[in-house]
């Protein structure tokens, strides 16, 4: 897994590639916390490079979204191709990622 953080005024972009599963969850959690602490009003996630995800990653996403929204900030997910592994796993587990992120999805 590879995480890149790019900060620009007003927003922060996290790009994550590779596997994002339970074994990576600690690393991911600290990256997400950093994003949270940056104070950027908008946190953007580029996840199209993910090759595998599991329930722990989706849980982290939900948690990040919750933390941001409680602080009046928002999370935006960059568009994912149809059938992307994240969407597939979310669908399988009944976690409504689309509902969660659709309104905040920015165009590419």
């Amino acid at each position: 897994m590879n995480i890149q953080i790019a900060e620009s005024p007003g927003d922060l972009l996290l790009s994550i590639d590779g596997r994002a599963g339970i074994d990576e969850s600690d690393e991911l959690a600290s990256a997400f916390r950093k994003a949270l602490e940056s104070g950027a009003p908008l946190v953007r996630l580029a996840l199209s490079g993910l090759s595998a995800v599991d329930v722990s990653f989706l849980q982290l996403l939900l948690s990040l979204e919750l933390s941001l929204s409680r602080g009046g900030r928002s999370l935006a997910l960059r568009p994912l191709p149809a059938g992307h592994v994240l969407l597939q796993v979310a669908d399988l587990l009944g976690i409504n990622v689309k509902r969660l992120l659709a309104s905040k999805t920015e165009s590419a």
Binding site: D26, R33, L36, R70, L93, G94
Partner: protein, 699 residues
């Protein structure tokens, strides 16, 4: 029952069976491994053969026997379901229809028989391996099944799955578990995520979620439980079957509130409280904080599954029915109509004797005859499924003709409609579907260039909306070419060059002879099209509306009254006689002002709240001599989208009337579409408003 009656009944039943067979064959082509469909085809053929020979249709029976034998082989796995089998099946359906109509089937019959023989000459071993391949192709990828597929009746289980927080530490992959679960049947999963904490408190390797799962499967409870065998010790798991409450009308779909109470998410008292609001139950329940959105979602999924099972059982099972000839039913309807009229007359008589026993007897008779009317009317009402299935074949054939891969999606087949009405709907629907296939849908090459699925979808959907049924036919094609329509309409002088009203431009496609097609094809494009659909629908007192989204497809919606026989009418008086105008067309009634009447001719214009509308003097349309010396009234009606004022002597009031067909001598009068007998025994003619307007204003 005599032999002739039986013969007629046989033909009727055989035609129905053929339609079902045809529909099953078309679906079978896409799902070649579905043995239920093969069985359905076999049973249908077996029934036609057996009853045919019983009632003297030997040629039908003999021919069908061969086809039945072929499908028996398919059933027992000796033949795979392939395109040749489907083709023979469909050709046989046509051939049996011809034989039923008294033909000898000619060369086609012999052609089919030799095709069957040809198949039987093939090597059997190879066939079976092909069958296996076909089955695999349908499944997508060959996927090893741990257990044999369940064969029990479809049942629904609800599961509550609450894993221990450290489940992931035990090497369990939840994704695998859910994937296995969804292989059992159709599965709806809702994660309950409200316990997921903020990042600060989150220990990322622990699970803070639980799941509500609804699964509809032919497996039993044990099979469902066995999916959880490796996690059983590390979770709270509850699996309970959903009771399918069977009512008289089949499976009863539970209310959302009932499911939520049943699952222990709501109290009965909450349900009461939420119902008070008279708003969508789920939304109120969430707003009031009674349940989470996830609970409502899970309950809705369960409700949908019960509904699906209910409608599948309904269509798969032969309901306890008897066949009655339609003429007999129509006869009954006429008699009931007469009875209703007689009862109305009696009621008027009884009013004169308001205190007496006669009045109360009359009241009881009134109630009884209303019930009788409703019951007998419902007997002619049948589900649309069978009718819709007939279009599978049409779409298949069209697909070949126009060279575009098409598929037909049917929904709402359990919606019911008067059989007489259904018959009149056939031509318009055929027309619309042809139009879609020919003009609506793009070529597969263009579709893939546009990033659309190469196989175009035409979908038919039906639903009941109050006393009407709405049937919509949609395609995912190019939609209407508004620019082209506008251009054509301007060319033809139908609209001005400056017209910008989209609605108005769209409505041009309903104009007689209107077509934007450059070339006419076998299928459509001759410009006899949607206007005919519209005309046909008007005969049913139905309406057509059209919506379209460029690049996304077009959708025609037909709205038809449930039954033809009784209508809500407005009773008016002209020249001392009663006439009825269908209330669905009436907009309002106004006084005829002296200023409205033109100086010369009778037909003139009226200024109604700034809108100029034409007036038609019904005295003239009906060829009634003389003038009315009182203050005439105007009934403003809507005909083909435009308002028109009909001048009458007086408006009597609203009336439910029973339409009686006119004798042939009278039915040549175009302005009149039927007659009815009023409570006092006098006859009132029912006016065909669309025809009157067409004749006077000449569209």
């Amino acid at each position: 029952m005599n032999f002739e009656d039986n013969q007629a009944l046989f033909i009727e039943e055989a035609r129905d069976r053929l339609q079902t067979i045809e529909g099953s064959l078309v679906i079978l082509e896409k799902q070649p491994a579905d043995m239920d469909l093969v069985n359905e085809v076999f049973r249908g053929l077996h029934t036609i053969k057996g009853s045919g020979s019983m009632f003297g249709f030997q040629s039908v029976a003999d021919f069908t026997h061969h086809v039945e034998s072929l499908f028996d082989e398919v059933r027992s796995g000796h033949f795979p379901v392939d395109s040749r089998i489907i083709d023979i099946g469909l050709r046989s359906v046509d051939c049996i229809s011809l034989l039923l109509a008294g033909g000898d089937g000619g060369e086609e019959r012999l052609g089919i028989l030799s095709a069957i023989e040809g198949l039987e000459g093939d090597g059997a071993g190879e066939r079976v391996s092909r069958a296996v391949r076909a089955a695999e192709a349908e499944e997508g990828e060959p996927r090893p099944r741990v257990t044999a597929p369940g064969s029990g009746p479809e049942r629904i289980f609800r599961l509550s799955f609450r894993p221990q927080k450290d489940l992931l530490h035990r090497g369990v992959r939840l994704e695998t578990l859910f994937r296995e679960l969804s292989s059992l049947g159709s599965c709806h999963v809702t994660a309950v995520t409200e316990a997921v904490p903020e990042l600060g408190e989150l220990e990322p390797s622990l699970l803070h979620m639980s799941w509500l799962i609804t699964i509809s499967t032919r497996e039993d409870l044990e099979a469902v439980r066995s999916v959880f065998i490796f996690v059983e010790d590390y979770c709270e798991l509850a699996i309970s079957p959903v009771e399918l409450g069977a009512g008289e009308e089949g499976i009863m779909v539970p209310k959302l509130g009932e499911i939520l109470v049943d699952r222990g998410f709501l109290q009965d008292s909450d349900v009461e409280e939420i119902r008070q609001e008279q708003k969508p139950f789920g939304a109120v329940a969430i707003d009031k904080g009674k349940v989470s959105a996830e609970h409502v979602e899970a309950a809705l999924a369960e409700q949908a599954m019960v509904r699906t099972i209910g409608s599948e059982r309904e269509s798969r099972q032969e309901a306890a029915t008897i066949r009655v000839r339609k003429e007999k039913l129509d006869g009954l309807m006429d008699l009931v109509g007469e009875l209703v009229i007689l009862q109305a007359m009696m009621e008027q008589e009884a009013k004169k004797d308001s205190a007496g026993a006669f009045a109360s007897l009359s009241e009881n008779l009134g109630r009884l005859s209303a019930d009788l009317r409703d019951t007998s009317m419902s007997m002619r009402i049948v589900p649309l499924q069978e009718f819709f299935m007939g279009f599978q074949r049409l779409v298949r054939d069209l697909s070949a003709q126009v060279g575009k891969p098409l598929r037909l999606e049917i929904s709402g087949g359990s919606t019911e409609l008067d059989k007489n009405v259904i018959e009149l709907l056939k031509d318009p629907l055929v027309h619309i579907i042809r139009n879609s296939a020919d003009h609506g849908v793009e070529t597969p090459e263009l579709r893939s260039r546009l990033g659309k699925a190469p196989v175009a979808t035409i979908s038919i959907d039906a639903r009941q909306v109050g006393p009407r049924v709405e049937i919509s036919i949609a395609d995912d094609g190019a939609g209407l070419d508004m620019g082209r329509i506008r251009e054509r309409a301007v060319e033809k002088g139908l609209i001005g060059a400056g017209e910008t009203d989209e609605e108005r431009i769209r409505s041009m496609v309903f104009e007689p002879g209107f077509s934007t097609s450059e070339k006419t094809t076998d299928i459509s494009g001759r410009g006899v099209g949607l206007d005919v659909v519209k005309r046909n629908l008007e005969r049913l007192r139905g309406e057509v509306s059209l919506s379209s989204e460029e690049g996304r497809g077009a959708k025609l919606t037909l709205s038809i009254p449930l039954t033809l026989v009784i209508i809500d009418g407005l009773l008016v008086m002209i020249g001392g006689h009663n006439y009825v105008i269908g209330l669905n067309q009436v907009q309002e009634c106004v006084d005829m002002t002296a200023s409205a009447r033109g100086a010369g001719g009778r037909d003139s214009m009226l200024n109604l709240r700034g809108m100029t509308i034409p007036i038609i003097a019904l005295r003239e349309s009906l060829m009634i001599d003389g003038d009315y010396d009182g203050l005439a009234r105007l009934v403003i009606v809507n005909s083909e989208g435009a308002s028109v004022g009909l001048e009458v002597d007086a408006v009597v009031g609203r009336k439910q009337v029973v339409i009686k067909p006119l004798s042939r001598a009278v039915s040549s009068i175009k302005a009149v579409s039927g007659a009815t007998i009023l409570g006092d025994g006098s006859v009132a003619l029912i006016l065909d408003v669309a025809e009157i307007v067409r004749a006077r204003i000449g569209r």
